[in-house]
C-alpha cells in the first residue's frame, strides 16, 4: 500500500489518475482503517488529503451558507457555535457517528463517500440541500449530495475524481432542521433507521420541507411524499400521521443483523414524527430570535 500526502487537489487528482488497482482518499480514516484491518479493502494507493490548504476550515460563504473543508472533523463542527446555530440537524447527525474518539477524526466527506446506506450525516445533508464540489481529470463540478450516492458503498464519482468541499446552503429565516436515529443502545451502534427533516415556516405554517431517511434502502432516500404531507400544515396530528405513513411507505429495507424489514418500516414513521416536531420547534425559535 503506497501512502501519499499531496499538498493540492490537483496533485491529489493527478496521483489518483495514474494509480493502478484500488485507490482511496484518506481524511479521518475511521472507515478506511477498519476495512483495512478487517481485510475488507486494502488500497494499493492511499491518498492522505489532510495536507491540502483549506481542508481543515469551516468558512461562511458569501451567500450566507457554509463551506466545510473535507478534513473537518465532527468534533470541530460540534465546537463551531455559529454553524451549530444555523444547522443543528446536520451537526447533531455528524456528532452521532461513532464515539468521542471517532468524532475526533471522522469527517462529513468521509461519511458521505463511504456511502453506507446507514450513514448518519447523509440524511441530514440531503434534507438540508447540501451540495458538494468535485474535481477530477476533466475539471470541476458541483452536485447535490443525493446525486452522489448510487448504492451501498458506491458513488457517482468517476475515476480520479474527489470531493473538494461540502457546501451547506444559507439557513434563511424561520428555518429548522433535525436528525434522529434508532439504535438499540444509547451510543456506538450503526443506525437501524435514520431520519432528517429540514423545514421553513410562514407564520405557523410549514412553507418548505425536505424529509430524508437512512438505513431503509440501498441509498439515503429523499422522500417527497413525506415533505408534501407536512407542507402547508401547522404540523397538526393529521399532518404528522400522514408524514409517518409516507415515510414508512418509502421504505425498502432489508432484514439483517441490526433490524427487520417490519421494524425499520414502522420505526421510520415514528422517527419522522419526532424529528419533524423538533425541526418545527427549532424553526419557531429561529422565527422568534
Amino acid at each position: 500500500m503506497h501512502y501519499l500526502t499531496p499538498s493540492s487537489f490537483d496533485e491529489a487528482v493527478t496521483i489518483a489518475a495514474r494509480a493502478q488497482g484500488i485507490t482511496r482518499y484518506l481524511a479521518g480514516g475511521t472507515d478506511i482503517l477498519v476495512q483495512l484491518r478487517a481485510d475488507i479493502v486494502t488500497p494499493d494507493t492511499l491518498i492522505d488529503i489532510k495536507h491540502i490548504d483549506g481542508v481543515h476550515d469551516i468558512t461562511r460563504e458569501n451567500d450566507g451558507g457554509w463551506r466545510i473543508g473535507i478534513a473537518v472533523s465532527g468534533a470541530e463542527m460540534s465546537e463551531h457555535a455559529a454553524l451549530c446555530a444555523d444547522w443543528p440537524g446536520v451537526v447533531e447527525a455528524m456528532d452521532l457517528v461513532g464515539s468521542t474518539q471517532v468524532q475526533g477524526r471522522a469527517t462529513l466527506t468521509g461519511n458521505l463517500c463511504n456511502a453506507s446506506p446507514a450513514a448518519d450525516s447523509v440524511p441530514a445533508m440531503v434534507a438540508a440541500g447540501v451540495t458538494v464540489s468535485i474535481t477530477g481529470a476533466n475539471g470541476t463540478r458541483r452536485i447535490a449530495v443525493e446525486d452522489l450516492l448510487t448504492g451501498p458503498g458506491k458513488t457517482s464519482l468517476q475515476k480520479a475524481e474527489m470531493v473538494t468541499a461540502v457546501h451547506i446552503p444559507p439557513r434563511g429565516p424561520a428555518g429548522g432542521d433535525a436528525y434522529q436515529r434508532f439504535i438499540p443502545r444509547t451510543e456506538m451502534d450503526i443506525a437501524v433507521v435514520g431520519c432528517a427533516v429540514n423545514l421553513t415556516l410562514d407564520g405557523d405554517t410549514i412553507k418548505t420541507a425536505r424529509v430524508a431517511l437512512g438505513a431503509v434502502a440501498p441509498t439515503v432516500l429523499l422522500v417527497q411524499d413525506a415533505a408534501d404531507a407536512i407542507i402547508g400544515s401547522t404540523l397538526d396530528d393529521a399532518a404528522l400521521d400522514a408524514l409517518a405513513d409516507a415515510a414508512s411507505a418509502a421504505c425498502n429495507p432489508i432484514d439483517d443483523k441490526r433490524g427487520t424489514i417490519k421494524f425499520r418500516t414502522h420505526v421510520a414513521g415514528v422517527l419522522a414524527k419526532r424529528v419533524a416536531r423538533i425541526a418545527y420547534d427549532r424553526a419557531q425559535a429561529a422565527k422568534g430570535a
Binding site: M1, H2, Y3, T5, L26, G28, G29, T30, L33, V34, L36, R37, A38, T42, L46, D48, K50, S73, A75, G98, S99, T100, Q101, V102, G104, R105, T186, E187, M188
Partner: protein, 163 residues
C-alpha cells in the same frame, strides 16, 4: 514495501521511527516505541482501550496510521503523571476502586483527562456519553463515573483556591 520515516513527539519527547504504511499508530506505539500503555481491545475503534490524544484531540490510535503521526504531538497514558506526581484522576481511580482488571483504564484516563480539560464541571450524563466509546466489562462503570465527577469537583476547588 518500503518503510516510511516519521518524526513525531510523544508525551513531549521527540521520536523518530520507520513503519510500514499499513501499521497503525497503536502498532507503532506498542511495537516500535515500546509504549505498551495503549491497549488493543478490538482494532476497529469500538472499544477505546487504545485512546491517545493527537494534537490535543482524543482519538483511537488504532484508527490512525503511524504515517499520519508526522509532525504531531501525541499524548499517551505514560504521559499523564508528572514524574512521581500522579494526575488527580489516576489517584482517584485507585482510591475509588474505579478499575478492576485495568485493561480499559489507560484509555479511560486519557479520555477523561481530555474531558475535564474541555469541561471542568460535567454532569453524570455528560461523563457517561463522553465515555460511551470506552468499553469496560468488569466494573459496570459506576465507580468510574463517581471517580471522574469527584476528581472534577476537587480540581475545580483547587483552581478556585489558586486563582
Amino acid at each position: 514495501m518500503s518503510k516510511i520515516h516519521v518524526t513525531t513527539s510523544v508525551n513531549g519527547d521527540a521520536m523518530e521511527f520507520l513503519c510500514d504504511p499499513r501499521e497503525t499508530l497503536l502498532d507503532v506505539l506498542r511495537d516500535r516505541l515500546n509504549l505498551t500503555g495503549a491497549k488493543e481491545g478490538c482494532g476497529t475503534g469500538d472499544c477505546g482501550a487504545c485512546s491517545v490524544t493527537l494534537d490535543g484531540r482524543l482519538v483511537c490510535s488504532c484508527l490512525v496510521l503511524g504515517a499520519e503521526a508526522e509532525g504531531k504531538e501525541i499524548g499517551t497514558i505514560e504521559g499523564l503523571a508528572d514524574g512521581e506526581a500522579l494526575h488527580p484522576l489516576q489517584q482517584k481511580f485507585i482510591e475509588y476502586a474505579a478499575l478492576q482488571c485495568g485493561i480499559c483504564t489507560p484509555g479511560i484516563l486519557v479520555a477523561t483527562k481530555a474531558l475535564l480539560e474541555k469541561n471542568p464541571d460535567p454532569t453524570e450524563t455528560e461523563v457517561r456519553y463522553w465515555l460511551a466509546g470506552n468499553l469496560c466489562r468488569c466494573t459496570g462503570y459506576d465507580k468510574i463515573i463517581r471517580a471522574v465527577m469527584d476528581t472534577a469537583a476537587d480540581m475545580r476547588a483547587d483552581a478556585k483556591e489558586t486563582s
